[in-house]
Structures are given as C-alpha cells and as structure tokens.
C-alpha cells in the first residue's frame, strides 16, 4: 500500500483535498478494540519512536509478552493500571486518501453513555466481535445504539481469528447471526471483515491466513466507504449563533448573522425566512472572514447578511420559505439517559437544541427499550443510567425541528439536570 512507504515530500495539494471520516469503535471488554486501533495506527506508520519506546517500557513493566499496542490509546493513569478504557479517547490518522478521526469508546455496560457520545458525531461504526464468543448482548446493544444514533455505515470486525484457526465457517456463522439481528436495525450499509488485530490480519494488509476471504481489508473499507451523500443537502437550516455588529466607522451598518449551515444550501439572492418571526428577506452576502462565498452548505461556518432589516437574534433560525421545519412545544423523542439520577417524570430540565437554550417538563414516558431484544418494556417506566426510552416533553418556547432521521442537527437535543448541571440525556426527535 502506498502509505507504507516513507513520505519524503508532502503533496500539499493532495493534503488539502482529503476528506474526513469520523468513526467510532465499540466492542465489549477484551474484544481487542484498543489493540485494533493501535494496529491501524502502527501499520499506517502513525506511531512515533518516542511513543513506541514509552509503550515498550510500559509493556515490560506490566509483564506483557509482546509490545502491547493497546497502551497507545489508554491515556489515563487508571486506564493503564487496570488495562481498561474508561473514557472516550480521540485518535487521528491519515492515509493519502482520507483523514480519520476515531472515537474509541469503552465497552463496559456502565460506560454506554460514552459509546453514545462517540457515535453522535460518527459517519461509521466499527463493532468488534470476539471470534470465539460470536454475537453477544453487548454486540446487539452497540449495534442498536449505532442505528439509533443514525450511523449509516457499520463494519462488523470478527476479531481474534488467529485463535480459531482462521476458520471460514466460524466467520460465516457469526455473519449469519448478525445478518438476522441487523434486519431489525436501520443501517443499510453493513460490512463484515475477519481480522486479527494482534497479528495484523486484514487490518491494513491483506491476510495470507484467510485466502477464503475475498473482501477488502478494514483500512481499504474505511478509505472507500461512500460518505459524501450522508449529509442532508436538501433542507436548508441555519441556526443563528451570534449577531455580529462591529459598530465601527468602516462597518457602521453591518449586521451579520453568524452560525453554521446544518443542512441544505444557501446562496446570495435566495429568499429566506427567519423563525420564529416568519419575516422574509433575501440574502445579500455570505462570507467566511473576508472571503465572499457563492454558496454555503453543511457543515460550513459562515456569516450571512440580509437585504432587509429584520429582527433576528441568537437561537433563531434561517430557512427557506418553501421548506420549513416543524414547530412546536410538544416534542416526542427517544432519549438515552446518561445520569446516575433517574429521569424524573414531570421533572423540569434545561435543554439545548441547535443554538437555542430552553427548558422543558417531562410530560410522559411511553416505554423503555430492552436493548438486547429491542422489545418495548411498558410495565416498568423508570429510566435510569444507560436506559433508552420514548418520552414526550413540553418546552418553554417553540422549537424548530425536524425528525432525527431526516436531520441529525435539527433533530437532536440534550437534556441538562438543573441541580448538577450534568448532561443527563441525549434526545432524538421522532
């Protein structure tokens, strides 16, 4: 592979043209997640000598037989001591084709909230399965979360193939099992790869131990999965973050609405409607710093000026008059609970939705999901840490929203505990 050779000069043009894939990795304890990431980084030459020396020394201290690649990703002292991952760790690597951001999330049940965190910004999820154990509860849990969070691409890596003699039938069995389960999920693009993270089979280099496997390696899959159509470029949504008014002599009348295009496309001349006021105007200019743009699309951060003076402030939204989001104060959502304090029916919470801060009351809990069977639990409506349920909230002011399925940015919100200020829940609007 081309990235195996030492790069001598950098093709700056090519570097500037690379796109970005964010992926998350999940698996249960000891599935070899950290080893896999260590392997990806090691085999793509992203590990430096001083890092390698440090790992070698730690491995020796711990009495590990080989250099323990997992130590690369375990950043906290407690993690290294216990040999487990506690918190989401972010890792970066690039090949000449793409740049990657990995959210490495822990597998323990009690840290499911971290998996949700990692998955919320990911395009793709890698789920690891131990070839010796096959599909277990955690695999289903993680796949369900990936599906719930709207991840469009999933790679099921059957790891530790070296420990089952690289047997094709074992891989095929696991694939079949997962196929059956995943028909209930909403992930269209699923890849299956037999690997050994420890030995490096099918991670970056094609394995010579599994001639029966005709598919691509993990890295090949990551480099080639088609993500450019994952973004919503249809429904134009621009939540206003901040109004720029320089009050300077040079820019005396300047009034720019700054924010990020969350979906759709805006162009100078476009007619736009401001919500909640409903007033319309046309776009005078769109700029990023001094650069005037002919169009702005997700996820660009820009400033927009309008041809009419209409009252718009932080938390408002610019949309197109012929394609407006839903508006309302009674919102139904799936919620992932992340706080040790249970969700309080009728409780009041602070919420954040796009750039808007508001408050809400929990009006109703409809059901809880058994994440192992995907069945609804209707006789026990207590939602505690790591539970997922369907609820209805009433907000202090109208939200402008789309369903999460249609639009990740305008369909998501967080629920904040007003006593501890902790982020207590992640909501996906139905």
């Amino acid at each position: 592979m081309s990235n195996q050779s030492t790069i001598e000069t950098v093709d700056t043009k090519a570097y500037l043209d690379m796109d970005l894939l964010r992926f998350t990795t999940a698996g249960s304890v000891d599935d070899g997640k950290s080893t896999l990431i260590g392997r990806l980084m090691y085999d793509t030459k992203q590990i430096f000598e001083d890092q390698m020396d440090a790992i070698e020394e730690s491995s020796k201290k711990r009495g590990d037989e080989n250099i323990n690649l997992a130590l690369l990703t375990d950043g906290l002292k407690a993690e290294r001591e216990q040999g487990i991952t506690i918190d989401v760790a972010y890792r970066y690597f690039a090949t000449p084709k793409r740049k990657f951001i990995i959210a490495d999330t822990p597998g323990h049940i009690q840290y499911t909230r971290n998996m949700i965190t990692g998955a919320s910004t990911a395009n793709l999820a890698i789920i690891l399965v131990d070839a010796r154990h096959g599909i277990i509860e955690q695999t289903k849990r993680h796949s369900f979360i990936a599906s719930l969070l709207g991840i469009k691409h999933l790679v099921l890596c059957v790891n530790k193939m070296d420990l089952v003699g690289y047997e094709e039938s074992i891989f095929e069995d696991i694939k079949k099992q997962f196929d059956e389960f995943s028909s209930r999920l909403e992930i269209a693009d699923i890849h299956y790869i037999p690997i050994s993270a420890l030995k490096g089979d099918n991670v970056v280099d094609k394995s010579s131990n599994m001639e029966w496997y005709a598919g691509g390696t993990l890295l090949y899959t990551l480099e080639n999965v088609h993500i450019s159509s994952d973004m919503n470029h249809i429904d134009s949504r621009f939540p206003v973050q901040w109004v720029i008014r320089p009050h300077s002599d040079q820019f005396h009348d300047y009034r720019g609405f700054s924010g990020r295009v969350e979906s759709g496309v805006f162009k100078p001349g476009d007619e736009v409607m401001a919500l909640p006021s409903g007033f319309t105007s046309t776009i005078k200019s769109i700029h990023n710093y001094t650069e005037q743009l002919e169009e702005a699309f997700a996820p660009m951060s820009v400033s927009i000026t309008l041809n009419d003076e209409i009252d718009i402030s932080k938390g408002d939204m610019l949309v197109k008059p012929n394609n407006v989001p839903q508006q309302g104060q009674d919102i139904e959502l799936m919620v992932c609970w992340m706080s040790p304090k249970k969700l309080q029916p009728n409780g009041k919470y602070t919420i954040k939705h796009t750039t808007k801060n508001a408050r809400c009351i929990i009006k109703e809990v409809y059901y809880k999901v058994d994440i192992n069977t995907l069945h609804r639990i209707e006789d026990n409506l207590e939602i505690g840490m790591n539970d997922i349920g369907r609820i209805r909230i009433r907000t202090t002011e109208p939200l402008f929203y789309d369903t999460y399925k249609k639009n990740r940015a305008t369909g998501s919100l967080i629920i904040v505990d007003e006593f501890t200020n902790e982020t207590a829940g992640a909501g996906m609007i139905i």
Partner: protein, 301 residues
C-alpha cells in the same frame, strides 16, 4: 453543480469557529490563553475569522514565566496591536516575589508547574468563566481524553473520570458561579493540520519556528537553548548549531531540533518525516508517564 464536499481542513476550521462562537454566545467572560506558540496563534486567527468584521470580543492572557524567548514577546506584542485586542500578562516572577509560589531549585528546575497557580489567579481575578486553549488531542495521551468544553470546578480541577458527555455539537455550558470551562476549539487538529492551515491561510508565526543559528547545549538527549535560565553543569557547554523549534514554550522546557527547514513547505515535509512526536522535546512531559494528566488535574493548560 457543486458536489458539496468540504475538505477536512475546511471542516476543522468550521468546527473551531463554531465552538468559538458558542462560547461567546453562551458564557459571560471568555479569555484566550496565548502562549506565543503556533497553536495559540492559529486560535487567534480562527477567533478573528469568527467575528469578522467585528473585533475579537475577548482579551488574550499570557502567563509569562519570565523565561521567554525575546522573539515570542516581540511577536505577541505586535500581534495584539494588529488585532486591537487587550492583553493581560500574568507574571510568574511577580508571583514568586509575592510568595504566592516557590521557585523550584536544583538541576532540572523549571517554572512550568508554577504557571498553573498564576493562571488560576488570573482567571479568578478577571472573573473569567471560559478560557480558550490551543491544546490538541493528538499531542499527548491525557489530552486525547479532553472535551471541547472541559468543565473545571471551583478549584479548577479536571476530573477525567467524570467528564460530561459531548453529544453532536450541542455543548452544555451550564455551571455554577466560580466554576469555569477550558475551551479547546482545535481539539481535532493534528500537528500536520496546523502547519497546513498556517501555510494555507498565510498566518504569521515567530521566526523561532524556522531554521536559524543558535547556541544550544544537550541535556538528556534534548537540545536546549543556551541561556542563563538554566542551572547548567560544567559539562553542559553551548555550541552553535543550525536549529529550529517544533513547539514553543518557556525557554527551559522547549527542545530544539537540528534542521535546515526555513520555509513552511520545508517544515511540513520535515513534520511528515518526523520520527518523534512534537512533545518529544518537551522536558515538562518527561517527568513521569502521567506528568501531563497530573498537571491537568491541577488546572494546567
């Protein structure tokens, strides 16, 4: 018809600007921690972009150990003048003179750890509730666990095992009075991204980053600038070499590398071929495997 693809560097820029604006929109009194290094210079550039044609709506705070490269201070002053921002300087020397902190003694003495106390004092006195930093997750293993909005309690402590989950781009900015956030807009950037961005945007950086002649000496395999700030052994004699700095901090903990890279393009090529990490030359990280984590828990940058 456009394909609506945004390159990775443009995506990182958009993300950083979004974060910077969220802070100004949701918190009362932000400040930008400015070290004079390329990451905080990049941060200033991003802040400039975020509020153009307005000015950057927060001051810069420099924690000055007194052990500076002259070039850093000159660069800092001209940058502040150019952007019309207010500069606050927190002096470690003053803190030592006032007995707030105690100077380390001995061979490896450094004012690095003393910066924390001065930083916290400045944040408290200025009633700042958000402090922007240029830290990146690829720099160091404890930093890989950082959030964009990193909550600090009233003792400015970081509790890595109990961090708020960060979902989507919805940042929870709630806190009690007396608490604050550390904000890391370029969390997702790598060293290479920063250099490519500096080249792309033609951002000015101090000459220390480019190859130049300097008197240096070697300690524990790290080349250090020959300066009165060190307690040197007799065997540690300075010799002139052609060097440059990969990171810039205080003189006593910034290692130089022998290099002929005198343009951004040459630096980028050197970074691509580098065999050790940029913090490999940082004496402050070498104290123990968890040196950074320990310092961060106390409230370090």
């Amino acid at each position: 018809m456009s394909s609506f693809n945004l390159t990775h560097l443009k995506q990182l820029e958009a993300e950083a600007i979004f974060v910077i604006r969220e802070v100004v929109a949701n918190l009362e009194k932000p400040v930008l921690l400015f070290s004079g290094g390329k990451d905080s210079i990049t941060l200033v550039h991003l802040a400039k972009k975020a509020f153009y044609p307005g000015k950057i709506p927060f001051p810069l705070l420099h924690i000055d150990t007194g052990h500076n490269f002259e070039e850093t201070i000159a660069f800092r002053d001209s940058l502040v003048q150019e952007i019309g921002a207010k500069l606050i300087v927190g002096s470690v020397q003053d803190a030592i003179d006032q007995g707030l902190v105690k100077e380390e003694t001995g061979y490896n003495a450094s004012r690095n750890a003393l910066q924390t106390a001065v930083l916290l004092k400045e944040l408290e006195e200025g009633k700042f509730d958000a402090a922007f930093g240029g830290a990146r997750r690829d720099e160091e293993k404890a930093r890989a666990k950082e959030r964009f909005f990193s909550h600090r309690d009233e003792f400015s402590q970081w509790d890595p095992k109990n961090q708020r989950p960060e979902l989507w781009n919805l940042f929870n900015t709630k806190k009690e009075i007396g608490e604050h956030f550390r904000i890391f807009p370029i969390s997702n950037w790598t060293e290479m991204d920063v250099w490519q961005y500096i080249a792309l945007e033609k951002i000015k950086i101090p000459n220390l980053y480019f190859s130049h002649k300097r008197k240096v000496f070697s300690r524990d395999g790290v080349l250090l600038s020959d300066s009165e700030f060190f307690n040197k052994r007799e065997s540690e004699t300075g010799t002139e070499k052609i060097i440059r700095f990969r990171t810039i901090g205080d003189v006593t903990c910034t290692g130089a590398i022998e290099s002929n890279a005198s343009t951004l393009e040459e630096i980028i090529n050197e970074v691509a071929a580098a065999k050790i990490t940029e913090r490999g030359g940082r004496a402050d990280d070498k104290r123990s495997e968890a040196a950074m984590e320990e310092r961060k828990k106390q409230g370090y940058f």
